[in-house]
Symmetry: C2
Subunit: 342 residues, 2 copies
C-alpha cells in the first residue's frame, strides 16, 4: 500500500480510501491510484485489515463428515448464506470424534471467526466458555450442545419423525416392527428410538427389546442383525431404519439374503427409512425425510442475526420432517410362510 501511494504520489490513507471505495476521493486522484494499483498488481492484505478492524468476516463450520449427503447439503446452505453476507467459510469434519471437534472449533476461534455453526460430536462444550466470554457467537445444528452450554440450536424433529414413520407402518397393519438405529449415545438416534416407542405406546403395542438394535451402521453388523431378527421366532413384518446409512445397508442385506436385485420389494418386508437418500425414489423406499438445506439455512440465519447484534434469549428450533410414501412402507404384513413362498 505504501508502494502504491508512492507510485501514485499520494498518501497511504488515500490508497486505503480507494481500495475500500470510501467516499470523498477526487475522481482524478482515484483513477491515478487505481492505475498504480493495477500496474503494481497490488491486492489488499486482509490479514492486516482483520487485525485492525477486529472482525474477520468469516465463520467456522464443523460438521460430522463432508462426504455424507446430509452434511454436504447443510454445508451448501451455509455456504450460500455466508456468500450472501460477504463471509468466508472455514470448514472441517469432526468424524464423530469429540477431540477433533474441539480442536477444529478452537482453531477457528484462534483465527477469530465471527461465528460458529457446529454439528457437535462431543457432549461436553465447556471448552467454549472462554470463547463465549470473548463474545463469539455459536449455533448448534442437528444435535444440541452438551449440558451447561447455552446457545441457539436447530434440530430436526427426530422423535416426531420416528413416531410418524412407526405410526405409518402400524396403520398399514403391522404389529411387529423392528427398529434398527444408530448408536444410542448419539442424540438423534436416541430421539428416534423415543419416537418409535411413543408410537408403539400410542397404538397400545408392546415394546419388545428383541426388536430393537442400536449401533454403528457398518455393513456386516447390519447384515448380521437383520438375519438374527428375521430368523427369530415371531419375526418382524416391518422395519424402521434409524438413519440413512442403515437404510441403505438394510437394502443391501435384504438383496443378498433374498438374492433379488429388486431390493425395495425384498422379502415382502415393509420398510421405512429415516432420512431421505438419492435414488430412494427409484428403489421405492418410503422415508421420513429431513431437510438438511433448511437446517443449514436456519442455523446460518440465526447466526447472522446474532452477528448483527441480536441479543434475544437463545432459541431452540425443531424442523418438521415429512413422510414420503414410495411403496416399501405401504406393504401389508406377510407371515414368514407367505414371504418364503413369494
Amino acid at each position: 500500500m505504501n508502494d502504491v501511494a508512492a507510485a501514485a504520489g499520494v498518501a497511504l490513507k488515500t490508497v486505503s480510501r480507494v481500495v475500500n471505495s470510501e467516499p470523498g476521493v477526487n475522481a482524478v486522484t482515484a483513477s491515478r491510484v487505481q492505475a498504480a494499483i493495477e500496474r503494481l498488481g497490488y491486492r489488499r492484505n486482509d490479514s492486516a485489515r482483520i487485525l485492525r478492524r477486529g472482525r474477520t468476516a468469516s465463520i467456522g463450520l464443523v460438521i460430522e463428515d463432508v462426504a455424507d449427503a446430509f452434511h454436504s447439503s447443510l454445508i451448501r446452505a451455509v455456504e450460500d448464506a455466508a456468500l450472501h453476507h460477504g463471509c468466508l467459510l472455514f470448514t472441517g469434519s469432526s468424524r464423530e470424534d469429540a477431540a477433533r471437534e474441539r480442536d477444529l472449533v478452537l482453531a477457528f476461534c484462534a483465527r477469530r471467526v465471527d461465528g460458529l455453526i457446529i454439528v457437535p460430536a462431543g457432549s461436553d462444550h465447556g471448552y467454549l466458555a472462554p470463547e463465549f466470554e470473548a463474545g463469539i457467537k455459536a449455533v448448534f445444528a442437528d444435535r444440541p450442545p452438551g449440558a451447561g452450554c447455552e446457545a441457539d440450536t436447530v434440530l430436526c424433529d427426530n422423535a416426531g419423525g420416528a413416531r410418524t414413520g412407526t405410526a405409518h407402518l402400524i396403520a398399514h397393519g403391522h404389529r411387529r416392527i423392528a427398529f434398527l438405529g444408530g448408536s444410542p449415545r448419539i442424540f438423534t438416534a436416541a430421539e428416534r428410538l423415543r419416537g418409535y416407542r411413543q408410537a408403539l405406546a400410542a397404538a397400545g403395542l408392546p415394546y419388545d427389546e428383541g426388536l430393537v438394535v442400536m449401533g454403528a451402521p457398518d455393513p456386516p453388523r447390519v447384515g448380521a442383525d437383520l438375519t438374527r431378527l428375521l430368523t427369530a421366532p415371531d419375526p418382524p413384518t416391518a422395519l424402521l431404519a434409524g438413519n440413512g446409512r442403515t437404510t441403505v445397508e438394510i437394502l443391501r442385506a435384504l438383496a443378498s439374503l433374498t438374492g433379488s436385485s429388486d431390493a425395495g420389494a425384498a422379502g415382502g418386508l415393509a420398510l421405512v427409512g429415516f432420512d431421505d437418500f438419492e435414488l430412494a425414489d427409484l428403489l421405492g423406499v418410503t422415508v421420513v425425510a429431513q431437510d438438511p438445506a433448511r437446517l443449514g439455512r436456519t442455523a446460518a440465519d440465526l447466526l447472522f442475526m446474532r452477528l448483527s447484534g441480536d441479543e434475544e434469549p437463545t432459541s431452540r428450533i425443531e424442523l418438521a420432517t415429512r413422510l414420503v410414501p414410495r411403496g416399501s412402507g405401504e406393504r401389508p404384513p406377510l407371515s414368514l410362510r407367505d414371504r418364503t413362498a413369494s
Copy 2:
C-alpha cells in the same frame, strides 16, 4: 498477551514463548505464565500471528458443488491432508459459475492463504497472474486451468475411461452405442466424448452423430433425449452415460418409460455409467469409476510439496479409472422387438 504478562509478572515475550512452547523458558516461570493464561482465559490471536509471520497456515479449496458426491469426497481427502499439515481450510462452491470461482479465489488470496486447490469452472485464469507473481501456489483438480496458466494439475483419465467403457460394450456385441454426456464446453465431458469416439474408431465402428447427446443433466431433458433415441429408426442397444447425474437420470427415465422399478434391467438396454455412485451396486449398474478421494489426496500432496519449497516444473497427473462390471454393462444387444416382447 500484555495482560497475561502483567499478571504473571513477566515480559510479553516470555508469554509468547510459553504460548508457542518455545524452548528456553524456566519451568517455574512457564507454569506461572500458564496459570495466568488459564486464569484470564487467554487465547492467542492467530490473525496477528499470521500478519507478523506471513504464513497463514490455511489453504483455499474451490470446487463445483459441495453437495455433489464426487466433490465432497474430494474435499474430505483435502481436509485430511490439511489437518495433517496443521492447516485450516477455506471452502467454497463455484456452482459452475466462472465469476463466482474468481471471486472466491481472489477472496482467499486476499486472506493470504498459503495455497489453493481449484476445480475450475471458468476457462480463463488470467486473474491469477498477480497472485502467482506474489508467490501463491495453486493446484488444479479434475479440470485443467485455462490456456496460459501454468500450474500443477491432477485429472482423471477421462478419455481412457470412456474408451474402456465403450470398448466393454463393444466386446459384449454392441454396435450401436449412444453417448449421453454433459455440456461439451466442460473439459471432462469433451474428453469423455473423445474417448468414446476413439473406442468406436478402434473397433472400426462408424461415429453416428444421431447417437450423441450433450447437455446439462436435468431430468426432463435426459428423459426427452432418451425417448427420442429409443424411438428413432435403428435405435441404440447400449448407452454410455457421460457423468453420474446423467446415469441416474437415465435410470429414472428408463424406469418411467418401462414402468419397471427394476431400473437396472429396464428395457434390456445395456448401460455403462461414467463415475460411480452410491447404490450402483444394488441397482446392478456397471460403471467406469473415478477416484475422487485419490484426486483430492494427490492434489493436496502436490500443493504441500510446493509449499515446502519444491520448485520442480509443473506436472500434470492423470489418475486411472476402473471399470466395475455389475450387470447392466454386460447385457447382450437386443433388437427392439426382443425388448418390447420381454
